[in-house]
Symmetry: C2
Subunit: 263 residues, 2 copies
């Protein structure tokens, strides 16, 4: 278990751990072959059948064994390299990465984050109306000042305790936002259901002291440290579709994520 070992045991037993692995490819399936292979490879890594540090075996043999062409095998491997699960080195081979690289940063929904953490999130909609866009919002959404926008104010709780106060703006024409559905799912899920495909988002994460109003709402003391996030999300055409300003109780929430170093 020494963490100092490097790349010994090139030919040690169990090195070509890929042999005992059985990969089943279904050529009649609509799922691309490279994707089928990538998923099975990822599953093998996930459950430890392919241990960290193990070499994958060279791509030529691999493709022969799988009955695939080398480019197809490479496409599968590359997708796992992009996820940070594998590392390729010329003249050496492809290895499983040691660390528990799991989630890279993604455009996350607080609701989804809490739900997947088993936190049973609930939402109280404090405000849901259509108003003329204030200047700041109009600028962020790239619309005319005074154009109709939907403003949402929500209080997100887990186990009955408030975690965050969320304020969001969307062009009113984009989407219907019934209060009832907002209380049982996430805004991003509703946008997705409405066919809005998100492409990117610009975020800024900061901190500040709670105002009296925020303190009351979030059950903190006035002046308590709060985490803040301001975000503009864009769809595939590059059009801004959502602008949000959120505050989180720093005592209950932090942003956690994994980064990959760009090569």
């Amino acid at each position: 278990m020494s963490p100092v070992h490097r790349t010994e045991q090139r030919t040690a037993p169990g090195d070509r751990a890929l042999d005992p692995l059985s990969f089943t490819l279904d050529r009649t399936s609509p799922v691309p072959l490279y994707y089928q292979f990538a998923q099975q490879l990822e599953a093998a890594i996930e459950r430890g059948t392919l241990a960290p540090g193990n070499l994958l075996g060279n791509e030529v043999d691999l493709s022969a064994r799988l009955g695939l062409s080398r480019p197809t095998v490479r496409q599968a491997i590359q997708s796992l390299v992009d996820k940070g699960l594998l590392v390729r080195r010329r003249g050496v081979g492809t290895q499983v990465v040691h660390s528990k690289v799991r989630r890279p940063l993604e455009l996350s929904s607080l609701y989804d984050d809490l739900e997947s953490a088993g936190q049973e999130p609930t939402t109280r909609v404090l405000r849901n109306e259509r108003i003329p866009a204030p200047a700041e919002v109009a600028a962020a959404l790239g619309i005319a000042e005074g154009a109709e926008v939907t403003v949402l104010e929500r209080l997100r709780c887990t186990h009955g305790r408030p975690v965050a106060f969320l304020c969001n703006y969307l062009s009113a024409s984009l989407l219907e936002l019934p209060t009832q559905r907002l209380e049982s799912t996430s805004l991003y899920r509703m946008m997705r259901s409405a066919g809005i495909v998100l492409h990117s988002a610009r975020q800024s994460i900061g901190a500040r002291s709670a105002t009296a109003g925020e303190a009351t709402l979030l059950e903190e003391k006035e002046g308590a440290a709060l985490l803040t996030m301001v975000r503009t999300a864009y769809d595939v055409t590059g059009r801004p579709v959502e602008y949000g300003s959120h505050v989180y109780r720093a005592s209950l929430y932090a942003f956690e994520f994994q980064l990959l170093v760009r090569p």
Copy 2:
């Protein structure tokens, strides 16, 4: 300038904006062809020669015009899709994304961030010694408790004002860290120079109120909101190489970044 337009003007003049563009490929260069093409494509987008919304023209024609095979052209295009500059849609084509997608989140160095923002960062090294690893540090770095580590405490300033207090731990055997060099460059640059190739990092960003000591050091009032970041960085073999705990003045600093939505 209406931000509401979608994908009109399929056949409008100036649509095949790629025609007037001149791409020069050097087959004798060691730089891969797909990379040469990708760079010139990115430059054309950057300077607006390829305007947002423009279609690229189909890949078959494109490869013929460039004298490249289609997979090579696709590799170039794919790299820009991954960067968020282009969007591909089946049956439609490849378009330049509207928004000013620029920097995705990367494993950033505060020093480099400030420097590239023209903030003239300076560093005061408050502590630079070798100590037995405390339990928390040993756990993060995957070494034995009590093993020798280098501990760094630095104050980062811009324009003479303190911005952040940085505390970092590294295995002592990894790297020499002369105080003088630490005051004129970033820790990550020094690690890179020493041949340490970073692969990924796990970060947690939160907030809390300043202690009396932090307040004095950062020239804030006691209880002021501070941004906090805790980070463990890993090299290509998955070994933890650095553990850091940083606090930033929320009044002077925020984390800004662009995210791409995973497809």
